[in-house]
């Protein structure tokens, strides 16, 4: 796999050219494609699709896969300190599930004609994006509960809708992944429940974790609809089925009663229930913080990428050995 490294530059050039010089689509084919979508049909890898549709899906799916893989790091940070053997096992299993999700979605992107190693290289180069939430540090055990509850919870709200996305392989991946995310959320909320009913120190730990993760969780739904560049086209092609703000509101409505059940507060003095819309109305999100984090200046952006790069670089000799051995074996079978 010595080519992996060499292909990095190539893949970058390749990606930029494909994005800049998308061939003009045949209007008749576009019309047929949009008719399929309008009829609620799912698009499969063999179907014709506009170049823009393909590139948007590649972008969304690869960002999603990167998020799963980078998302292993903040929780992986507490595996060695989990306070009971049962919690240690369930945390390892959770982080392992996220690796599985990453792998599964990377493979899904290959149905769009991209190589997962190329995508992975874009992550390592810092040119690909991933969910901003994973650039926040995990500072106490309570974060393992709160991440499961809020972060997996927000992911579920997003992914339940993505399970109805028009691209078949992505939709099916989401159905499968959502089941596991639900399990993560329940497990996280259960950690929170135990802490909420624990010692004063445990309750304080929980409240502090919620104070840190509340706003970043709301930012997981992306920019407000008025500022979302990609939304219009994605909604028309039923890649996305709901807007960022709709999903964010749904998440808040689901989550506030759960916070009340725990007896904790969320750090928003403007939060109030609107009896007319039945929505929990929340305060203004600090979009400057969001911009900072997605442009690489969050508290852990550098550490997360460095950890991924280190794992990749440290593993170089292992991957090379594996392919050298496979080649030797193939030669032996040929000779035999």
């Amino acid at each position: 796999m010595a080519t992996l490294r060499g292909s990095r530059l190539y893949s970058l050039l390749h990606m930029t050219t494909t994005i800049r010089q998308l061939p003009a689509d045949d209007p008749a084919q576009v019309a047929a494609f949009e008719a399929l979508i309008a009829a609620g049909e799912s698009i499969e890898p063999k179907d014709w699709m506009p170049a823009r549709y393909r590139s948007q899906l590649t972008r969304m799916m690869s960002q999603h896969a990167h998020s799963e893989v980078v998302g292993m790091l903040p929780e992986g940070n507490w595996i060695t300190r989990a306070p009971s053997l049962r919690r240690k096992q369930s945390l390892i299993a959770k982080v392992q599930d996220e690796a599985g999700h990453g792998l599964y979605i990377y493979c899904g992107t290959e149905t769009l004609g991209v190589d997962r190693f190329d995508l992975f290289n874009q992550l390592l180069d810092g040119t690909a994006k991933y969910s901003s939430i994973f650039n926040y540090p995990t500072l106490s055990w309570a974060d393992m509960g709160v991440i499961g509850w809020l972060v997996d919870g927000a992911a579920i709200v997003n992914q339940t809708v993505l399970a109805k996305t028009s691209y078949g392989p992505y939709a099916r991946a989401m159905v499968r992944i959502c089941k596991e995310e639900n399990f993560h959320k329940r497990q996280g909320y259960e950690i929170c429940t135990v802490l909420a009913n624990g010692t004063p120190a445990q309750r304080a730990m929980l409240q502090d974790a919620v104070d840190r993760f509340w706003w970043p969780s709301l930012m997981m739904f992306g920019p407000s609809d008025t500022n979302s560049l990609n939304s219009g086209e994605l909604l028309r092609w039923k890649v996305k089925r709901k807007t960022n703000d709709e999903l964010r509101q749904r998440f808040v409505n689901l989550t506030i009663p759960q916070a009340q059940a725990l007896g904790i507060t969320v750090p928003d003095p403007d939060l109030r229930f609107d009896p007319e819309t039945k929505n929990w109305v929340f305060g203004e999100i600090d979009w400057s913080e969001f911009q900072q984090v997605i442009s690489g200046n969050g508290p852990c952006n550098r550490e997360r990428l460095e950890a991924r790069r280190k794992a990749h670089d440290d593993g170089q000799w292992v991957r090379e050995a594996a392919s050298a051995h496979a080649a030797k074996r193939a030669r032996k079978t040929e000779a035999a």
Binding site: V69, M72, L73, G76, I79, T80, R81, A82, P83, S84, L85, R86, R87, K88, Q89, I92, A93, V95, Q96, A99, G100, G102, L103, Y106, W141, I191, V194, G198, T199, A201, Q202, A307, K310, A311, H312, D314, G315, Q316, W317, V318, R319, E320, A321, A322, A324, H325, K328
Partner: protein
């Protein structure tokens, strides 16, 4: 810092023997051990807890995603085995300690794992070689314990042997890949083998604890175990084009709580949250 001042504090003049004092000669030259079956179970459980913990350090840092998942799987299996074994140890001990009390509230000198498993995870080659050496031992040990007259232990063996057989297949394949891969991987993994070899002798040593449990029908023929392990290891090393290191002096002590310095750091991390909140539930 001992000084005449200290002696004054306890009211003894230097060099003066006092009849009737509590004896200063300890009961034995060795460390103090508990009931044989409890000690025996702690050895089995601690090996798997510490090795599982070391493997879990890879989570998120593996050389490829597939291998990240595989190492986490092994960590899960081993920690699961450890939890069952330590639970049983606590029951046999009868002092009200469960698996978490044993994992989180014992100090290093009370741990009974072999030195091999507590060595740092090192690079991927170190981890794989250690895993292979341990897996080969563990599979053979479980085979011997399958028929143990202790129902709890036999049940654990029956479940664990399936998991460990899979681990052994996986670690053997990687030893072969790395040994017979590139020049670099060959040199690296031969180095791992050479460094870790001195900790393998301890796996096959029998002592008073083994004699003690033999009285309860738990009999493992360590010499036969070693012979089969040698054969199994030699086969894989041969396929991997690796050279079996000469049997030099063995490092030992883990079974009686005399560990390398690495264990203390591992436990300091592992136990930090649990010990910061004594009595808390999680």
């Amino acid at each position: 810092m001992a000084s005449a001042h200290d002696a004054d504090d306890v009211g003894i003049a230097a060099g003066e023997a006092k009849a009737g004092d509590r004896p200063v000669a300890g009961p034995s030259r060795g460390p103090r051990l508990g009931a044989p079956l409890v000690e025996y179970l702690l050895r089995l459980g601690d090996d798997r807890l510490i090795l599982g913990h070391r493997l879990s350090e890879w989570c998120g840092h593996g050389p490829i995603l597939e291998e990240d998942i595989a190492l986490s799987n092994f960590a899960l299996d081993l920690i699961g085995q450890a939890a069952s074994i330590l639970r049983l140890a606590g029951e046999v001990e009868g002092a009200g300690r469960d698996e978490d009390a044993l994992a989180y509230f014992r100090d290093g000198v009370q741990y009974r794992n072999c030195l091999l498993v507590e060595q740092p995870r090192g690079d991927f080659g170190d981890t794989i070689v250690r895993q292979f050496l341990f897996d080969a031992y563990s599979v053979l040990l479980w085979e011997a314990l399958l028929g143990a007259p202790h129902a709890g232990l036999a049940a654990i063996a029956a479940k664990a042997i399936k998991e460990d057989r899979y681990h052994l297949r996986h670690s053997s394949e990687w030893v072969v890949r790395l040994g017979d891969g590139t020049e670099e991987s060959h040199v690296r993994v031969q180095g791992s083998l050479d460094r870790l070899w001195r900790y393998t002798g301890e796996l096959f040593e029998a002592d008073a604890i083994d004699q003690g449990v033999a009285g309860e029908g738990i009999v493992v023929d360590h010499r036969a175990l070693k012979a089969r392990w040698d054969q199994l290891v030699d086969e894989v090393l041969d396929r991997a084009t690796l050279v079996r290191p000469a049997d030099g002096p063995t490092q030992r002590g883990g079974r009686v709580g005399r560990h390398t310095e690495h264990l203390g750091h591992l436990l300091a991390t592992m136990q930090s949250v649990a010990r910061a909140h004594p009595g808390a539930r999680w």
